[in-house]
């Protein structure tokens, strides 16, 4: 079978001590249109390969690098997704990255690369047009992510596209990320630790193949149509100028900016770390992914102006700025630089440090425990000192290196109340007490505390009727927002580019599939059903791992403590509001209200029976 848009193959690699065994399998035609690619087909592969007996750091847990039919085409914003069982949550994980690796995987002849097993010693994989080699990486072990890529580029040539993990991944920190093209990260959930557990420092890919398009002339016209939409969009200009950092302005204006471990929703020092200050004080140039008309990354000067840093993105400013009480944009850029070098997720890292700071200020930790660090909020030197200690599991850093849930278990003394995570994954930069729908989005995101499935903050009221401080309408909005991203995440293209710059709708996405793959009859309605199917499939994976309704909850602080400031001042979300939202949400998804398990009727309706079989109660 050779469909346009696809390479047509899954590369299945088994690391076996000192050698590598591999085979290719054709994409399964009967599954393909049901799940398309990317997150959808990757979830299917994980479902098959990593059942409940496989632990995240077992050799059997695969790292799956998935692309989709839209990846590597002339459409801007190609991405790949790393899929695995997360060492942070023990659940389904998908973590996306831009850069050039996505296209290169396709050009090398594969849609998905599955990596299982374990190397006997530090190694890296070299993949080039059907040649797969396991090579010694002992000279790279211990090197920063940036240095590793630099060294490999010198050895392999600049055409090789490389995925690396940093020292945090080697040390099995469960929020270690993987990095590619120096400045792009699959940040969340610990893909780096899974690579580290395999003694796999890097994957280098070179490809010289191409991608056949069903209607290349039509796609070119469509590409120009998107550019015209971009010129007219409300937010494109801001997106290019500031990237995600503009969010500092909108989020702080509605009081949902995480501040001092989510104790507040506004930060008095926001003016010193917002997008305008970033642009004025440390900005050097724009940077974007291959072929993108809206380069949204910023290169900034690192500490002492010497190092070039990509970022900080909004989430980094929020979690390693206001959330640790630091009001110095140069310090935030320094933290970003450290996280990128050591290969840790800035969101989880900022959360776990903020948690330690609150423990310290409440007297649950003292300087004897913290290796002499004065962990009061706002102490930038202490934050900068802690990041390498976490990545290296050194001293007090090892207390924090397993994430905030584990840190709270270790510290105890009531600290669980303010350990900010959902299902073990630390929360990103949106305080849900100032936007209740965001609480539902966190509670129901399949990878845990995550903003990338739905972000119901500042949604225009013409799109949805919802209640920021109640429950009515929230479930429907969250479900629709989650579903809107699925066809893009199966593609895989940059959903931010499509939503903010091109203001693309489901019909536009269907048109892309029609012109790339040749599915003449694909419709927006079919993609809506696909979205429900993929979302429910990832839920089924988590159900098989033991997730139930009781796990779809929020940190006690969000449910029971009033927000002290901002428009949400004094509001308490409460269990009742969350439960009402969950009831409606499960009804809309066709999941059982009592258990949160997809019903047999839903499994049948979504044509998932042969994939998931029968689910436990």
């Amino acid at each position: 079978m050779k469909l346009c848009g696809y390479a047509g193959k899954v590369l299945d690699i088994q690391l076996d001590g000192e050698k590598v065994v591999w085979k290719t399998e054709p994409l399964e035609e009967k599954i393909l249109r049901r799940l398309i690619g990317g997150r959808g087909y990757g979830a299917y592969l994980l479902y098959r390969l990593a059942g409940p007996t496989v632990k995240p750091l077992d050799p059997a847990n695969p790292v799956i690098l998935s692309t989709g039919p839209l990846t590597g085409t002339p459409l801007a914003g190609s991405k790949f997704v790393s899929i695995t069982k997360s060492p942070l949550t023990g659940l389904f994980l998908d973590s996306y990255s831009g850069g050039e690796l996505a296209g290169e995987i396709k050009y090398a002849g594969y849609d998905h690369i599955v990596i299982r097993g374990r190397c006997a010693f530090p190694s890296y994989l070299y993949i080039e047009n059907g040649k797969i080699e396991l090579r010694d990486a002992s000279h790279l072990w211990g090197q920063s992510a940036l240095d590793t890529e630099e060294t490999l580029k010198k050895e392999l040539g600049s055409e090789a596209k490389i995925l690396v993990t940093g020292p945090a991944g080697e040390n099995l920190v469960p929020f270690a990320c993987v990095c590619t093209d120096y400045y792009h990260q699959s940040g969340r959930g610990g893909v780096g630790a899974v690579m580290g557990s395999k003694n796999l420092k890097a994957v280098a890919v070179r490809g010289s193949g191409g991608i056949t398009l069903a209607d290349s002339a039509g796609l070119e016209r469509f590409r120009l149509y998107l550019i015209e939409k971009f010129k007219k969009s409300n937010y494109g200009e801001l997106r290019v100028k500031y990237g995600t950092t503009y969010t500092t302005v909108s989020v702080s204006s509605i009081g949902v900016l995480p501040t001092r471990n989510f104790q507040q929703g506004t930060f008095e020092g926001i003016e010193k770390i917002n997008c305008f200050t970033m642009k004025e004080k440390i900005w050097e140039s724009d940077h974007g992914c291959l072929g993108c008309q809206a380069p949204c990354m910023n290169f900034v000067r690192g500490r002492k102006g010497k190092v070039r840093v990509a970022g900080p993105e909004y989430e980094t400013i929020a979690l390693l700025g206001s959330n640790v009480g630091v009001d110095d944009i140069e310090a935030v850029a320094w933290f970003n630089e450290l996280c990128d070098a050591y290969g840790v997720d800035t969101i989880s890292c900022g959360n776990v440090i903020a948690f330690a700071m609150e423990c310290y200020e409440r007297g649950l930790l003292d300087q004897k425990t913290t290796d002499g660090l004065d962990l009061r909020f706002g102490n930038a030197e202490a934050v900068g000192a802690l990041i390498p200690k976490i990545a290296k599991r050194e001293g007090f850093g090892n207390w924090l290196a397993d994430g905030v849930r584990k840190a709270a278990e270790r510290i105890g003394k009531g600290s669980e109340h303010f350990s900010i995570h959902v299902k073990g994954m630390e929360i990103p930069g949106y305080e849900p007490r100032g936007a209740y729908p965001m609480g539902l989005a966190y509670a129901t995101a399949t990878r845990g505390g995550c903003h990338r499935r739905a972000k119901p903050v500042e949604i225009p009221k013409n799109r949805f009727q919802y209640d920021n401080f109640g429950y009515q309408g929230n479930a429907e909005m969250v479900k629709k927002l989650q579903d809107a991203r699925e066809p893009i995440h199966c593609g895989i293209l940059c959903d931010a580019l499509l939503r903010f710059c091109f203001e693309a709708d489901m019909k536009d996405v269907a048109d892309m599939y029609r012109m790339v793959v040749g599915w003449e009859d694909i419709s927006a309605q079919e993609l809506s059903t696909l979205a429900e199917r993929v979302y429910t499939l990832t839920r089924c994976y988590n159900v098989r791992e033991g997730t139930r309704r009781k796990d779809d909850t929020l940190p006690p602080r969000f449910l029971h403590d009033p927000l002290p400031d901002g428009p949400g001042k004094g509001k308490i979300m409460g269990d009742d509001t969350l439960n009402r939202m969950l009831d409606e949400y499960y009804d809309l998804r066709g999941w059982d209200r009592r258990t949160g398990v997809p019903t047999p009727e839903t499994i049948r309706r979504l044509d998932l029976e042969e994939i998931v079989g029968s689910l436990p109660e």
């Binding site: 302005v249 949106y430 500042e458």
Partner: protein, 100 residues
């Protein structure tokens, strides 16, 4: 920071544009007011080009992509007539983009 009407020492509000208006962003303007006047009338007194742009981006669309804050609190356009200014208010106009 610009001032709308020269050296007036009376009550005034600051309007900060945190999104592109008149071709630039992150700039502000001081506007003299009469205490008790509504927010809507302040917008109408801005120079013609700016006033037109505000109408296009904030006042006329049924669901504007830009928001208005007065002293850090969001004010929707239906409230522009009811919000009465006393002087010294900080008014921000910002894009509602949330794309972190």
């Amino acid at each position: 920071m610009g001032t709308l009407e020269g050296k007036d020492s009376g009550p005034r509000v600051t309007i900060r544009f945190l999104a592109p208006f008149r071709g630039r962003d992150n700039w502000s303007l001081e506007v003299p007011i009469t205490p008790g006047e509504p927010l809507s009338s302040v917008f109408q007194r801005l120079e013609a080009g700016l006033c037109r742009e505000l109408k296009e981006k904030v006042i006329d669309p049924p669901h504007p992509p830009f928001g208005v804050n007065v002293n850090g609190k969001r004010v929707v356009k239906d409230q522009f007539e009811q919000v009465r200014l006393t002087g010294s208010e900080q008014i921000s106009i910002l894009a509602l983009l949330v794309g972190g």
